[in-house]
Amino acid sequence: VSPILGIWASQNYVRVTNSFESIATVTVGSGGAANVEFTSIPSTYTHLQVRILARSTRTTSETDYMNVTLNSDTGANYSYHYLQGDGSSAAAGASASINQAYSSYIGSDGASNSNIFGVNILDLLDYANTNKNTTFRFLGGMDNNGTGGKVALMSDAWYNTNAVTSIKFAPSTGSFKQYSSFALYGIKGA
């Protein structure tokens, strides 16, 4: 029997699931944006996910990262751990009692081409549970086809038992560039 050299996926199988819903989306316009914030997030879901394509005006590095605050809390109520790779070595770090959480890496104006954006996926788990603090994580990175690309796993915590009703993202330096996109989704439990 001759081996089949290629398999074409079935295109006629579409199954709609009912537990992953789009809540809101923000796409940055031509003037840029100092920050992006989702407010009045309903507590009717079990988990939240934010899927991000972003680039900032920072010019001192190929990458940037985002400061993240929940419910407008800028007190020293956050901590993080990270594991990252820069293409040549791996590194880990942590910080506690800080005034905001941090994302993984996004793109910046220091990148080699203006069309390069970084991407992040934020999972914010059990965000409406008022019996415990909130833990969230980022998987993200930006590749620059050479020096400067980074990928990182980020774990964040917010030491507050309130339900999360707003999430604010701001680049560490400057503002978000046009075409940066933030899509908030809610995931329902059974």
Binding site: S22, N115, V119, S181
Partner: protein, 168 residues
């Protein structure tokens, strides 16, 4: 609010398939998620790789930055102007052990930015890794092909499922 996470297509390999292709991907979603549970006849650095869009491949349009843990140490590596390998050195020889790869193809249908991909791999016998990859084209992605090098092939029964996520 409507459901926004949909299965677009799925395939299970047979007869030593060397490639898997998802074609005619509609541009109606925001992101794509490709979940791969597979074994390959290849080993080491001879890992499967991804091409976006048919007949559009030249290796120098791809690059990637990788973070890996192999049970002993964490490390990072980079490929520039080089194919986008799904795994890169963590596949054991002649593996029938399943490798799990979750490939997040972000904003695949916009025509204004290069295309960025995030990938997570789990290979229980060899390690775990994550990767940020770049395809330096602004065109929408309508075809995804997973290819083995040389005469290597996917172990029969490998599964690949493509999902679409739609932002509103």
């Amino acid at each position: 609010m409507t459901a926004t996470y949909e299965a677009i297509a799925t395939t299970t390999t047979a007869s030593n398939a060397t490639t898997v292709t998802f074609s005619s991907i509609p541009a109606t979603y925001t992101d794509l998620v490709l979940i791969c549970a597979y074994g390959t006849s290849s080993a080491g650095s001879n890992a499967p790789y991804i091409e976006y869009n048919s007949n559009a491949y030249t290796g120098n349009l791809y690059s990637s930055t990788r973070l890996r843990g192999n049970g002993t140490a964490a490390s990072s590596s980079r490929r520039t102007n080089d194919p986008f390998y799904i795994t890169d050195g963590i596949i054991p020889s002649g593996s029938v052990n399943e490798t799990l790869s979750v490939i997040q193809i972000m904003n695949y249908s916009n025509t204004t930015t290069f295309k960025s991909t995030l990938l997570r791999n789990n290979q229980a016998g060899s390690g775990t890794e994550t990767l940020a990859a770049l395809w330096r084209k602004t065109e929408a992605i309508s075809t995804i092909t997973l290819k083995n090098l040389s005469t290597y092939y996917f172990i029969d029964g490998s599964t690949f499922t493509l999902f679409g996520i739609k932002a509103e």
